[in-house]
């Protein structure tokens, strides 16, 4: 048998294979998916069926949740993640941490997305509490719980309690104890949120999460700058500025900061600084 026709035949077959695989993958993405039926097997059962490979099962559950969240960025519809998908996401992370409760990444992933995107702050805290119980050497998890209580649930007392808790763990940043004390006294929401976020950023290794938190910090810094400007304006003129441009006009600020999320900062009639992008950022 001559060699060249066989080689040519193999090349053609390989090309056809690549085309067919590409098309089939594309078509599979369009397959109808059952909404709301994404049941997650409880971690206790996975632990038994995974035999001695339960650590691996926990990694795989975590990666499924991570890849799912990543894939939603391709979507154009709003809301980007449906409510049953949030539940699936939470259940998957719960199962992953039921199998291996010492695994840090599912807690961080759950905290990053369930709070800011999913509006499931209590669920995020439940996950973090479990993590904090098992990883009793780790001061970051009580720090996150404290932040969630302070920022989302507006429970300063509880936030202060968790920060105290975090500050007592080995290697904790010395700033935590003073922040806890401050929280217990007065409400300086944005300033404290900036300090919180800076602490969280120093502990974040993942580049995507880092960018996510950096943007949030930039946003909060913008709000903080404007809040300070508004209070100086109020002290000077004994009234709330009608709009933020007044701050530049009266030379209180050199320029207005830009909202990294693409919105515009504004001040409401009570003197509270907000942004047009805030609604889509804040949990529903």
């Amino acid at each position: 048998m001559q060699r060249s026709p066989v080689v040519a035949f193999l090349i053609v077959l390989s090309l056809l294979h690549v085309i067919a695989l590409g098309r089939a993958t594309e078509e599979r993405r369009l397959l109808p998916k059952a909404d709301g039926s994404a049941y997650v097997i409880p971690g206790s059962l996975i632990k038994i069926t995974a035999l001695e490979f339960d650590g691996l099962a926990s990694d795989i559950m975590f990666l499924r949740a991570l890849l799912f969240m990543g894939s939603t960025y391709e979507r154009k519809e709003t809301p980007r993640v449906k409510s049953w998908e949030w539940k699936w996401f939470y259940d998957t992370l719960t199962a992953s941490t039921d199998i291996d409760p010492y695994f840090l990444d599912p807690y961080l992933l759950g905290n990053a997305y369930l709070t800011w995107g999913g509006g499931m702050v209590n669920e995020a805290n439940t996950l973090l509490e479990k993590g904090s119980r098992y990883r009793d050497w780790d001061w970051t998890l009580p720090l996150y719980i404290g932040f969630n209580h302070f920022y989302f649930l507006r429970q300063n007392e509880k936030a202060s309690m968790y920060l105290m808790h975090a500050s007592r763990r080995p290697g904790a940043s010395p700033i935590l104890a003073s922040l806890a004390a401050k929280l217990a006294y007065k409400e300086r929401k944005t300033e404290n949120a900036v300090i919180f976020m800076q602490e969280i950023l120093t502990r974040t290794e993942d580049e995507d999460l880092k960018k996510y938190f950096e943007m949030r910090l930039e946003y909060l810094n913008g709000v903080l700058l404007l809040e300070k400007g508004v209070s100086r304006y109020k002290a000077k003129f004994h009234k709330v500025p009608s709009n933020l441009n007044q701050l530049v006009k009266e030379r209180i600020l050199m320029a207005l900061p830009a909202d990294p999320y693409g919105g515009t900062y504004y001040v409401d009639s009570k003197g509270i600084v907000k942004s047009t992008s805030e609604l889509q950022l804040m949990p529903q």
Binding site: S44, G55, S58, D59, L63, F103, D105, E205
Partner: protein, 270 residues
Amino acid sequence: MSTLLPIALITYKEGIRNKAFFGVSLVALLLLCAGALISIMVPQEMGKAAVDMALSVISFSGLLVVFFVGINLMAKDLDRRTIYMVLSRPISRSQYIIGKFIGMLFLIVMTMLFVSLLAIILLFLLKMGYPDRFERFSWSLVLLAAFLSTLGLVLLSSLSILFASFTSASFVTSALTVVVYIIGQSLGDMKTLVETPQSFPVGISPFIVKLVQTVYYIFPNLSLFDIKMQAAHNLSPSFSYIVWTALYGLFYTCVAITLAALIFKKKEVP
């Protein structure tokens, strides 16, 4: 001893010569590389995922050797009737069983050493590349986990010899060994689960609870030999845990081999 060693060596050499041994090594290498790629995807605790993957591959390769190479070494003698050649020599049946077991023990230890070496090289390279993501990592625990895993596999292979001593088809031996492995791995979790019914979504009858508690003392509890999760998070088990687990493995293995020798003595070789 002088009669045991030749049988052990022949068994070991036969196992090494078997092409399946190289297949297992190749599978281990491929799985280790795939595991490394997957663990890189874990952003924070990459070291944990890498250790999970490495130790799982080590255990899995050992299992493949027990199931596909080890079982055949004894069952083949019975299947192909080559056992007559051995038994016609001045070797007692118990010596044959013990010799076979020692040969299998060499084979398992060699495989585990080889695959562990590959895994260690891979972990070392990953740790060099991403030192920040290996915060909680301990070489001694990784090695200890591989050692306990080896003990578990030795126990399992002793059971495969026990099954081969009373069955005449290698398929039955393999099937029984696989079933015992699955039961042995899930028995510990199953016992905890039925004893704490609130964690289980469906009600459990008291009969099942008693059954599981009884079965717990008959089948081997292989999950005791699994400290992969502790190794991945650098959570040292107590010294007494390691000692008791190793002793449990030793006692169970001795019981299985003694039973196998007793049964094989009475067996009518077809």
